[in-house]
Subunit: 489 residues, 2 copies
């Protein structure tokens, strides 16, 4: 059995994974800011970390998976401005900030259900951890790495870099950052443009204001993750993840905050999931080329010629490695749908395959299983994993056409492979009913068809009539053909 290797942003290399505590993993992933419905690009990140969470569980780890919800704070937008996006959205909809968050969190929860994401261990919110944030800022102040300017507390990057490395996550060069001279609103309060707010002085238009030792205000954006990861996972834990776009400034500043507060770089492994492209261009609200996770299910986005199921979309996402670019296009989705159908058609046949006494495929099945594990152990390479599942489908089809033979044990092993890797690790479901029901149904129907055939041969018409009546009642139709009897609800 191979060992798990994870690409660590800190080193730019795939490293052998070693948890801090045997058998246990602490993982923190930056969650959504809920001032609007998360778009498909956001969802890709969460689906990828869901897959990572699932694989770690599959390996037998006890995983504490913390993914926050940002429900306050000033977030740096793509223009470098720090905006209270939630407050702005709340004003536009004439609601309180947390009403907006509740509205979009409800939607986010529905999305996760539709796309079959497992719930994290906890989804803590920034507003429920204001005091924890204040306490960490106090420590940073005590250590001299922050200063108050006009009621706002800034992290003093210039001072920090004298005794600490900066740029460990993002690879940014501190000299360039310190000499950057973009003119931005509020910059005049900072000692250096690279400094960032830990606590912002309340503005009259702010919708959420809290008391603090530095006067009324609200937290900066980065501090909530430091506070909540420390609270739920401790000062040091195993994996910190998020979207690629969070490397800088968000994750860089998380490390600075932790170290500035007298702790350490919180995570041993920093993982970053790649963005989503649409027809070659990065999906973003700014570009207007985004669509929502329910749009594609309902067929209401003009980018696609038809609706696609959540299972197909998830399968499509899993076809790409989490660190690779992934391009959403109509052709790519159509192709993914065909692939999904090919796999599930094969997998649903397993229950109907003929069992042989002799077998010659034990070695092949073991090879596929080893390859599946190796693919996932190679930095969660779902792309390679799916290639192996196609091999498995080919094998099943060969058994079905009696080109090769499989024993009861072979079939059990095949079934387990599908359950483990397709259903549990990739998190993909069968669209036809639930898989269990469908598989059980296949067995039952084959049994009934056999009994019906036998009872006819034995001229036991009482039984065959009864079978006919019950099937009619159950809405099941039998179709006798030259290859035997088929059925349909």
């Amino acid at each position: 059995m191979s060992e798990l290797f994870i690409y660590n942003t800190l080193t730019g290399k795939k490293e052998k994974f070693k948890p801090r505590h045997k058998g246990k993993i602490g993982m923190y992933v930056c969650g959504p800011t809920l001032y609007s419905e998360p778009h498909m690009g956001n969802l890709r990140t969460f689906i990828n970390f869901d897959m990572i969470f699932r694989y770690l569980l599959h390996l037998g780890y006890q995983v504490k998976y913390v993914r926050n919800i940002t429900d306050c704070g000033h977030i740096t937008n793509s223009a470098g401005l720090e905006l209270d996006s939630i407050g702005l959205a709340a004003k536009a909809e004439q609601m309180e900030s947390l009403e907006i968050v509740y509205k979009y969190n409800s939607k986010f929860q529905d999305i996760q259900k539709a796309y079959n994401l497992l719930r994290p261990s906890i989804e803590p919110t920034a507003t429920a951890h204001i005091q924890e944030q204040i306490e960490i800022i106090e420590k940073i102040m005590e250590n001299g790495f922050a200063y108050v300017s006009n009621g706002t507390v800034y992290f003093d990057v210039n001072k920090y870099v004298k005794s600490n490395p900066y740029g460990v996550v993002s690879g940014r060069k501190i000299d360039e950052l310190l000499n950057e001279s973009r003119e931005l609103q509020g910059q005049e309060e900072k000692r250096n443009p690279a400094d960032f707010a830990l606590w912002k002085k309340a503005q009259s238009e702010d919708m959420q204001i809290w008391r603090s030792p530095w006067g009324d205000g609200n937290p900066g954006w980065h501090i909530e993750c430091t506070a909540m990861s420390t609270k739920y996972l401790g000062e040091e834990f195993d994996i910190h993840g998020g979207g690629m776009d969070l490397k800088f400034p968000h994750h860089e500043n998380e490390v600075a905050q932790s170290c500035g507060a007298g702790m350490k770089n919180p995570a041993n492994y920093w993982m970053h999931a790649n963005m989503l492209n649409v027809n070659g261009q990065k999906m973003s609200k700014t570009f207007g080329n985004y669509f929502l996770p329910f749009d594609i299910l309902e067929g209401t986005t003009s980018i696609f010629s038809k609706p696609f199921s959540a299972q197909v979309v998830r399968f499509f996402m899993m076809m790409g490695h989490y660190r690779s670019d992934l391009d959403f296009s109509n052709d790519a989705l159509i192709a993914a749908e065909k692939g999904y159908d090919r796999l599930t058609d094969a997998f649903l046949k397993i229950g109907k395959l003929t069992i042989s006494e002799t077998t010659n495929i034990g070695k092949e099945i073991k090879e596929i299983r080893d390859n599946c594990a190796a693919a996932m152990n190679d930095d969660f390479n779902t792309s390679k994993l799916i290639a192996e599942l196609f091999e498995l489908a080919t094998l099943i089809n060969k058994i079905d056409s009696k080109t090769i033979h499989a024993s009861q044990e072979d079939l059990e092993n095949i079934r387990k492979l599908v359950q483990d890797y397709f259903v549990k690790v990739l998190g993909i479901q069968f669209e036809n009913g639930t898989e269990t029901n469908s598989q059980a149904m296949e067995h039952l129907m084959q049994l009934i068809i056999d009994i019906r055939k036998e009872s006819r041969e034995k001229k036991d018409f009482a039984t065959s009539d009864k079978i006919r009546d019950v099937l009619t009642q159950a809405g099941i139709e039998l179709r006798d053909g030259k290859d035997g009897t088929d059925w349909k609800i």
Copy 2:
């Protein structure tokens, strides 16, 4: 069209409902304390307020429905002790308090989905509103209705009653309360046993501690509802609801807190939903006769002979008026299931009925519609509403048997009645359709169980053995009991 009358706990009478602002309603309902999974008795309250929410929406109101989640605080238990139930549960499960709340809130959200509850406008949490609670306590202090004793802030009931009425919600006599002399832990700090904590001094074992002007501590139980109802609905709003058991001390103290803070009795209408009985005894964790909302769906509670669907359970609850006792028993549920089947069987026929040119039932349909409205306007009398829906089912069956005739318009009106009152107001869904697979499965399994029995009687062991083997392969277990054979995947 009759007008809506609501039974107001404040007056003990049904009063004509008049919202504070034309067309708009603000409603606050006390939600669950999530240190464990809400039991069926808790759910009855939430289902009843869901029905009330639905009817107000049906009447065309814009309803802002706030239902809180208690995720901290010391709750008075049945013995009169104030306990940090969440902290205790968190310690037992070796988690942080908010991890416990997240765990059970996830379950609570799943329950609501299964039982078809609409989401409120917001479910605010106490921990995200600590500052709002502190601010109200400060106002009460300023007004002289609270005092600090050993780091804990108490509401001064004795002082309050000199200028304010107390007992307006619960009808409790203040003299009796002031003279009550139960010896309880911590009572020695109080000036009077009737005083209650607004802010509790932190204890070393507390899991959630916040800073306050009175030192480190955590909020009392009642103050969160005053803080959150004021924040999201204003100082005065239309309806305040909750379970009957919350009248005292919780709701009584909410009124005292609002008035003590210089506001008013917050709600014009106080509504209380009745508890649930099981075989004649009140459902309660203390009595051990409680079961969980998923238990009854899965058939894992010994109180019932079989599983019941969420639709049947909800229908059963709606058969009782929200202020009446409701007794959960096997016989009552079986009867409700029959009633549910009778109604849905009839309603599902509507699309198949013969349309006549002539009609003589327009008047009858209008009468049923008026009676439905009258029933609901009479303090949400779902019991009477369901009686009218049975009338409607009878009418449909008569049309079906061609005893009477219906025009296209009649059928449209009937369909609308079903949609409006059965689906939207009562919140009940049709089971048939989505459950095709499960139902077909039931038929197949019953057939197989019969064939197995017959083959055994005929000593056709080849067949009974084959059945056994296939079922094992399909993962289906048969259990022979005295009432026949049961099965389980």
